[in-house]
Amino acid sequence: MNREPRWAVFFTVLVALVAQALPLWPWLDNVRPSFIALVIIYWGIFAPHAGGIFAAWLAGLALDVFKGEVLGQNALAVALLAYIAISLHQRLRNQTLVQQSLFVFAMLTFNELVVWAIEGWSGKAVSTQWRWIQPMIGAMLWPFIALLLGRTHSRS
């Protein structure tokens, strides 16, 4: 039972953090999806016990520190994603990648909504229309990310 891919979770979250913080050209930066959210959704579905909500929360907090956002903003949003993915993991596991993509799209949009709402509350004045494109890009990337992450652990 204690064969949870904890190290895989740790390293993939780290890679996602780097991927998200990597300085890019502004046009590419605008369409960059939340890799942290994608990775957390994946682990929520396929290894709900490995990292759980705590790993998600910590990853979100790291992102907050990294990006200099209000502490707890991404932590809350990502923990929420992990919670929903874990709650629905048995149903989602048996879906095809395309069906999962639809769920991921909804989740990423929800994530943006939460972050956007918190930004609004905390008084961040500026936003960009591009952020509503990002979930779509993320959903399109989902099959590849799911296949890639599937190689890091043995599926039960």
């Binding site: 300085p23 200099g68 502490l71 932590a75």
Partner: protein
Amino acid sequence: MAVFGSGGGRNLGGRGPSFGFRFFCYAVISVVLMFYDKRGGWLETARYGLQAAIYPLQLAVNSPSAAWRWTRENFATRESLQREVDALRMQLRDQQLVTMRQAALQAENATLRGLNATQPEVIEKRLVGEVVNVETSSMRQRVLVNRGGNSGVHPAQPVITGDGVLGQVLRIGPFSSEIILLTDSEHALPVQVLRSGVRTIALGTGRGTLLELPYVPQNYDVKVGDLLVTSGLDQVFPYGLPVARVTSVTRDPAEPLAKIQAATLARIDAEREVLFVWARANHPASPATPEALAVEAPQQ
């Protein structure tokens, strides 16, 4: 929520509290964090430590571009280096011409002001830092510099480059500091038109080197090409640091205010080295103090 609760609670339970309860706890912690982060205070200390923890990762993120720069610099051809040296030599000569009469001008200035001795330079101390990470999206224009609290850097410290004002320190860690550029759309800088003395506020736009001056009435004296310098009224920057040059002035008779745009003198994207500066206290050009800015109550 009932669906989530039953799925998470029953089937996965047996190992501590249910996922729903755990999530609730993390949500509460997050909200508390957000609340105190906005309020300031003890969380600043926590953030200071977290910055140190995350700094290696920030360096790692920057390593590809650093490696690329290193490679390019090391494989630079002799001709290109020669060209660079020539350009720098020429620049040095020009600068020398500009500063040649500085001592004489300072003495003259002191005489005009009725002072016995010349004032020392307003910038008392400076510290060179290297940019390790740049973020220039339309929403955020920030750079990370490899100097922090351990080097004496403090929040709201002016940061300049050889060309002009770059921004100010937003947040510090022990080894690093985050600098908000003056082009960030959340940044506003009190400036003064050097030629006419008009004072206003330059707002960042999030686009390239562009600044906007939205609060200048139609009839104020601002022209294209005017140099904007810091006015010192923000209690952060000393007076007279070059900021930007006015690039366009549009006066629409229907509007009460003129539309003015300016381009920063500092090359926002290209800068690798920045200067943290400490202004001398009690200097005529040092940042205004709250007492000096306080409006006195009218005498009865």
